[in-house]
């Protein structure tokens, strides 16, 4: 059977503001990824776009960028779109439907509507339109606030524990010249940052930015011709709408619970040299550590307090600064953890390099549900060597 691998990937420079349109950003990222891997554009026979507000269908987007391909997909899975589209590309390659698939996402800032010309605001879903937005509710800040409030009240999770996550990632970002937020952040700065939707404060919130990222998936056979070593995929799992059929779902239990045993079945947690987790909020890191089984339910705050999660520590998390300090380039944000995992296992992370990094976990989370929490959760184990 054909084995799919990650051939490589690259990101554009990230910025607070830009004049470029979404597809221009994506084109830039694709070009950089082709250069990084040495793959010719003519060899690309599959493409996925992470785009929820572009009205164009995926085959038309391929046409706009001049890709005549055998396979396309538009990923509309919120923040999980990136990792999930790589997983879909892997399936396409292994099924023989394509051999070289470009996965791309990103764009200009969502709030610069005049640049998207005919973009449409994401319709989200019926429940949000009629039963969320009319209250002035909605948006991830408030949705995460409901989750964090309950976690703090039930388990005594502290702002200091959450602040440790934000400040550690900031230290990592200071070693990444493409991170937009590199200024010093002390725990006191975190605690003093203004309340947005309490207990969520400003330094809990991911910052929107402009930029794009592209990752290329191909067959192991094709990757042998390339200059750089591929990244191998050891396991992948995803879950959608966890708890969807419960009319009072547990706000603190996420879809990771549904697949964690399968995800770590062959490659146990203990083999992870690092975690690159989707981090739009520190509380999202706590929830993932608990539900992925790195600690018990309710003990995520304590786990953070007791663990050195820095590059130099016991369990390095988000070694490039995370989306929290880099910025969130629309649905391309989910590629940031994957690109960093790739650099770590290839030994290309420079001053951020973890000693002897061989295997790590990348996660994706996306969208928020009416009552529970994350609508989409996914996890992918990647490594330097082929997994048997």
């Amino acid at each position: 059977m054909t084995r799919a691998v990650i051939a490589g990937g690259a990101e554009t420079r990230f910025s607070r503001t830009s004049d470029l349109a979404d597809l221009q950003f994506m084109a830039q990222a694709i070009r950089l990824a082709l250069e990084e891997t040495g793959i010719s554009k003519a060899d690309v026979d599959g493409i996925t776009f992470c785009a929820n507000v572009l009205p164009d269908d995926s085959s038309y987007m391929a046409e706009h960028l001049g890709f005549s391909v055998r396979w396309t997909m538009k990923a509309d899975y919120g923040g999980a779109s990136s990792v999930l589209s790589v997983a879909r590309a892997v399936e396409a390659v292994e099924a023989g439907r394509a051999e070289v698939v470009v996965c791309v996402g990103g764009g200009n800032r969502f709030d610069f509507t005049d640049l998207h010309h005919d973009a449409v605001s994401p319709p989200i879903d019926y429940a949000h339109r009629s039963f969320v937005l009319p209250y002035g509710y909605g948006g991830p800040n408030m949705q995460m606030a409901l989750l964090q409030r309950r976690h703090m009240e039930l388990y005594g999770t502290t702002l200091e524990q959450l602040g440790k996550i934000a400040t550690t990632f900031r230290r990592h970002a200071q070693l990444n010249d493409n991170a937009l937020l590199r200024g010093d952040m002390t725990l006191q700065d975190y605690l003093d940052s203004p309340l947005i939707a309490d207990p969520i404060r400003k330094f809990d919130c991911v910052m929107r930015c402009a930029g794009a990222v592209a990752v290329i998936v191909t067959s192991e056979e094709y990757a042998k011709r390339l200059a750089k070593p591929p990244v191998y995929i050891g396991a992948y799992q995803e879950q959608h709408s966890y708890g969807a059929n419960d009319m009072s779902p547990d706000k603190l239990e996420t879809g990771f619970v549904a697949f964690r045993d399968k995800l770590f079945e062959r490659i146990p947690r203990e083999e992870m040299d690092f975690l690159q987790l989707y981090d739009d909020y520190p509380i999202a890191i706590v929830a993932q550590l608990e539900d992925l089984g790195f600690c018990k339910r309710g003990e995520g705050g304590k786990f953070i307090e007791d663990t050195d999660i820095s590059i130099w520590g016991d369990l390095p998390i988000n070694t490039s600064g995370g989306i929290l300090s880099i910025g969130q380039p629309r649905l391309g944000g989910g590629y940031i953890p994957l690109i960093e995992a790739m650099r770590q296992v290839r030994g290309e992370a420079g001053p951020r390099q973890i000693k002897d990094a061989k295997t790590g976990l990348v996660s994706g989370i996306g969208l928020m549900s009416y009552l529970s929490n994350l609508v989409i959760t996914c996890g992918m184990i990647v490594g330097k060597e082929p997994f048997e």
Binding site: S130, Y135, A145, P194, D198, K251
Partner: protein, 136 residues
């Protein structure tokens, strides 16, 4: 920008009609007995279409809450701060809403008892359920 208001769809018509009369209701499936909110086109347990709206007590307790200081939508800025509540209704189903009176917000905690009141929104034809604290 106009403030978002609920738009009636075929399957939630009775929810809004009941709300106009000051009654909080949720869908009951006649096939399997399930009670569900938000309104759905079918019963999300058995996928049956024999669903009707049933009056609820309108009473419940705080499951979680947040006081919003920086609204996502600019249309709500003038109202901030306001408190969004995730309510566990006595019937065992949850309902997202907002405190009707911000004076209930200081000292609010999980488990506090709440009851429904209705406020007209948009052009005044839609009545949206809000919650107030039940004083002992």
């Amino acid at each position: 920008m106009t403030r978002p208001t609920p738009k009636t769809v075929p399957w939630d018509r009775d929810f809004w009609a009941n709300a106009e009369r000051g009654v909080l209701s949720a869908q009951r499936c006649d096939d399997c007995g399930r009670l569900q909110h938000y309104p759905k086109p079918v019963c999300s347990e058995c996928l049956g279409a024999n669903i009707r709206f049933e009056a609820l007590s309108g009473r419940g307790e705080v499951y979680s809450f947040t006081t919003v200081r920086r609204p996502e939508l600019p249309e709500f800025e003038a109202e901030a701060p306001y408190t969004v509540v995730d309510v566990l209704l006595d019937e065992g189903i949850r309902f997202l809403s907002r405190l009707a009176d911000e004076q209930d917000a200081p000292g609010l905690k999980l488990g506090d008892k709440l009851t429904t009141v209705f406020k007209p929104v948009g052009d005044g034809t839609k009545h949206l359920p809000y919650f107030v604290k039940v004083r002992d």
